[in-house]
């Protein structure tokens, strides 16, 4: 016990190895920021009944089919950097009227299927849309 206490007490706050570790930690942090944040590009979050079911980056053309019950569905399409609902078999199809968007915070809503698509990242001159 006594020797351990002495060792701790006598140890210097920093050794050469620490100086190596610090830049390493910084590098790891920078890497974490790069990997964990969604990147410079915008993306669309797809929520079904309040739950996040898919994230689609807007810089990759893609399609996501959301299956509501009884074979009903919405097709969410990312094309040319914008997201839209390209097909829906809900009753009103109002979600398909929404023009393809890349505007941050824009939301496309399909009420019958409780589906919400929200654009994140990127620019939006508006703080909210009413």
């Amino acid at each position: 016990m006594g020797s351990l206490f002495r060792a701790v007490k006598e140890s210097k706050p920093f050794k050469k190895a620490d100086l190596l570790i610090i830049p390493l930690l910084m590098l790891a942090s920078a890497l974490a920021i790069f990997l964990l944040s969604p990147g410079g590009g915008s993306y669309a979050e797809i929520y079904a009944d309040g739950k996040l079911v898919r994230v689609m980056p807007l810089d990759v053309d893609a399609e996501f089919v959301y299956h509501f019950d009884e074979g009903r569905k919405n097709v969410i399409t990312v094309k040319g950097g914008k997201v839209s609902v390209s097909y829906a078999d809900c009753a009103d199809k109002i979600c398909t009227h929404y023009p393809p968007t890349d505007r941050a915070s824009s939301s496309i809503i399909c009420l019958p299927h409780k589906l919400v698509i929200i654009v994140r990242g990127g620019e939006n001159e508006y703080d909210g849309v009413v």
Partner: protein, 357 residues
């Protein structure tokens, strides 16, 4: 020297970077639905803990409020009132009683253009389906409409001591045109009680702004283009505002098409028909109202939508409100002092020119 420098700067810097890395990827659950609408909350301050607690309390309030005030839920107080017989006293909680009171006030102030007794007609026209699917197989007969219209009368309800009584079995209420605004007023009170100085609450056509943005500027609120399918634009224009609320009523979100005619969810309380169908020709496709009070903005946007531009303008001016009226011929009118910018695809109309009387 180098050592002290590293210990004083590098370690906190690392910690900050790690914190930033992980906070940047936090995903907030923004897809929540209340009162059949999506709620979006944006805080612009720096007090994360107060914001978290505030968000929790708001969620609790809205869940509870919906249970009591929704006409879609079997066991709500509103449904109990709707199912009650004439003369039966229906005891109400404080907030639902307040909805009855506020609605009566707006009914009177709008000369009946806002009416909370349209449940029967909304159902007849196929807008009371809780699954959000609107529409009907066959249009109702004029006789059916007129029969329900005679009970769409708020003076057939008496309020006293926290209870409501109706004078006829068929009197049924729906607070769809005021409940979201009222809920936002309460959300605002909750947020202010947590010391929040800058925030935006957005709930299906209603925005409530607390204070100014963090940089002291006004908020920029985009107004949805009511004919985005034709114009290809999401936004009609922007409005700059602070510490107030704005509400939009339009024919473009909850509607169905039949025989090429657009039947929207806003029922004209004078004719019993959806606005702009039958004898109800207001000509308005979107009505925007700005008020300190979100419940008032909500109710008046519906009332203006029903009333048409000229009468709508009079209603707003009489009550010291401002707003924007967009008509089917792609024109827009401004009432009062509105900081409007970036209008696209619509032409500004002047009052005198179009209503030269």
């Amino acid at each position: 020297m180098l050592k002290t420098l590293s210990s004083k700067i590098a370690l906190p810097l690392c910690a900050a970077m790690f914190f930033f890395a992980f906070s940047a990827c936090q995903v907030e659950d923004e897809g929540q639905f209340f009162l059949n609408s999506r709620l979006e909350i944006k805080f612009f301050g720096a007090n994360r803990e107060a914001e978290r607690l505030c968000r929790q309390e708001i969620t609790r309030f809205l869940e509870e409020f919906e249970q009591k005030a929704s006409a879609h839920l079997e066991d709500s107080e509103v449904s109990k009132f709707n199912k009650a017989k004439a003369g039966e006293r229906v005891q109400l909680s404080e907030r639902v009683y307040k909805l009855f009171e506020l609605s009566m006030e707006y009914y009177q102030k709008t000369g009946g253009a806002f009416n909370h007794c349209l449940y029967g007609l909304s159902k007849l026209w196929g807008f009371m389906e809780s699954d959000g699917i609107y529409g009907i197989e066959e249009l109702p007969s004029q006789q059916q409409v007129e029969q329900l219209l005679s009970y769409a009368d708020p003076s057939l309800i008496e309020l006293s001591d926290g209870a409501a009584v109706k004078f006829h079995d068929a009197v049924k209420v729906d607070f769809g045109a005021v409940a979201k605004g009222y809920a936002l007023d309460v959300c605002g009170q909750i947020a202010r009680s947590y010391g929040i100085k800058s925030a935006l609450f957005n709930m299906a056509g209603n925005v409530y702004a607390i204070g100014y943005k963090d940089d002291g500027a006004k908020f920029s609120i985009g107004i949805t283009d009511p004919r985005m399918i034709e114009t290809g634009e999401e936004i009609f224009a922007g409005v700059r505002l602070a510490d107030t609320s704005i509400s939009v009523s339009g024919d473009y979100e909850r509607y169905f098409l039949k025989g090429g005619i657009r039947y929207c969810h806003i029922i004209d309380p004078f004719t019993g028909w959806p606005v702009n169908t039958g004898n109800s020709v207001s000509g308005i496709i979107s009505a925007i109202v700005i008020s300190q009070n979100a419940a008032q903005a909500d109710a008046f946007s519906t009332a203006v939508m029903v009333s048409g531009p000229e009468e709508g303008k009079r209603l707003l001016e009489q009550n010291g409100l401002c707003g924007i009226i967009i008509t089917a011929d792609k024109k827009y009118y401004v009432v009062g002092d509105v900081e409007l910018f970036g209008v696209k695809n619509y032409e500004r109309a002047e009052w005198e020119a179009s209503f030269g009387r």
